[in-house]
């Protein structure tokens, strides 16, 4: 398991840090760590903020009825993968 950030993951990590106003270094976020609860300690309100920031930056609408939401928001890695796949 690779827990080093790719360039794109770092970009997303920076977006998380700035949109949530986190007192964290974007580089220090392990891409495999869960974003919510026991991981980074984010909650569903933060998730909403992230979804909005992503739609602003990448023009991707994350929708409430997407059955993959739980997977998409599992970790930095899965989030970056989902954005990458939809961006094309």
């Amino acid at each position: 398991m690779n827990s080093r950030q790719t360039d794109f993951e770092r970009e997303i990590a920076q977006l998380l840090v700035s949109s949530l106003n986190l007192a964290l270094d974007a580089d220090s976020i392990d891409p495999e760590t869960p974003l919510f609860r026991e991981g980074l300690g984010l909650d569903s309100i933060d998730m909403l903020e992230i979804a909005l920031a992503i739609s602003q930056h990448y023009g991707i609408q994350l929708r409430s009825d997407d059955p993959d939401n739980a997977v998409i928001f599992a970790s930095l890695r899965s989030l970056a993968a989902a954005i990458g796949a939809r961006r094309t």
Partner: protein, 340 residues
């Protein structure tokens, strides 16, 4: 525990509620209201914690211990507002009238396609407003709530008006908040409660009727992220001496849309203080409309040691407890009797 309302079981059985619904519609409001006296007396005697909670409330409000009669009348008002939900939702001819105050300011946002957040409380009957929307489409409010709480009561009542179910956004995971956002983006009205906290939830302190109370931070954070203007909202039950009564739907401006993330803490501080102040002011207008039957001023035992992102512990979140916006998963099968 301050959060006991959340863990408490809803009083009354589904069967009993169904009978009550049928009786209420058959017998009519006048007769059923008489039956409310013995029913209220039963709950008054069997729920001493509720009486103790109301004593705390009246002590904050008046600076002295309330009389037993006053606390009883308070229970009676609660029972009456629940009964009225039956008539309001069924659009029965016995449904009490309502009047609307302060909606012009809300409407001016909605007319521009800007959704509005209504920050309510367990004061009066939010239900009266939902019912009012049936004849007043501009008033249609999507209510975000823990559906685990008062589920029995809500299911009994939605039979009366199935559309009422559609206007509730259940909390539970990220998807429901995205739905709220989409609804606001289409110029909708979103209602959420800003007064009750759940165990372990992050709170903020605010002066409320004098002493400091702890309010849930989740609703403020949600309002900040949604970037919509916030109004205080309540539907007060007002009775006059001749026995006639009506509901007063009141909208009062609290804050404009939240600024960027950096200036957001200050915005939330203002919103929190104004909300508590406005809530207190309406408690003084209609004291017996307060439907939190527990010691509201008790310090919550939220756990500050949870892992977090190290932000401003007061407002930015960071090491914070579970948010009330995280859903009702833990509450399945539990309900509170004090839901209004």
């Amino acid at each position: 525990m301050a959060e006991a309302w959340f863990e408490k079981r809803e009083r009354g059985s589904p069967w009993g509620l169904r009978v009550a619904r049928v009786l209420a519609l058959r017998l009519g409001r006048r007769t059923t209201r008489i039956l409310l006296w013995p029913i209220t007396a039963y709950f008054f005697w069997t729920l001493p914690e509720g009486r103790a909670g109301l004593r705390c409330y009246y002590e904050a409000l008046d600076g002295r211990r309330p009389t037993r009669a006053r606390v009883f009348r308070h229970y009676l008002t609660f029972a009456r507002t629940i009964l009225d939900r039956v008539y309001l939702l069924a659009q029965h001819h016995d449904a009490p009238p309502y009047e609307i105050r302060g909606f012009e300011a809300v409407a001016s946002y909605l007319d521009q396609g800007q959704g509005v957040i209504l920050l309510g409380a367990h004061l009066g009957s939010f239900e009266a407003a939902r019912a009012a929307a049936f004849s007043h489409p501009a008033l249609k409010i999507q209510v975000i709530m823990h559906t685990g709480v008062s589920r029995q009561l809500n299911e009994t009542l939605t039979v009366l008006h199935p559309e009422a179910r559609d206007s509730i956004v259940p909390l539970g995971g990220p998807a429901s908040l995205l739905r709220v956002r989409e609804f606001l983006a289409h110029g909708g009205l979103v209602g959420l409660m800003g007064d009750r906290t759940i165990t372990g939830e992050a709170t903020y302190p605010a002066d409320f009727l004098g002493p400091t109370a702890h309010f849930p931070l989740g609703p403020l954070r949600l309002a900040a992220v949604l970037r919509a203007p916030v109004f205080f909202f309540t539907a007060l039950y007002r009775a006059s001496a001749d026995g006639a009564c009506r509901y007063e739907l009141v909208f009062e401006f609290l804050c404009g849309p939240a600024p960027d993330a950096k200036a957001r803490d200050e915005w939330m501080r203002q919103l929190g203080a104004r909300y508590a102040q406005t809530l207190g002011a309406f408690c003084r207008v209609a004291p017996d409309n307060w439907f939190n039957f527990y010691d509201f001023w008790q310090v919550p035992d939220n756990d500050p040691s949870r892992p977090g992102a190290g932000r401003d512990p007061d407002y930015g979140g960071g090491p914070r407890g579970q948010s009330s916006m995280d859903g009702a998963d833990a509450t399945e099968g539990h309900s509170a009797h004090g839901e209004s």
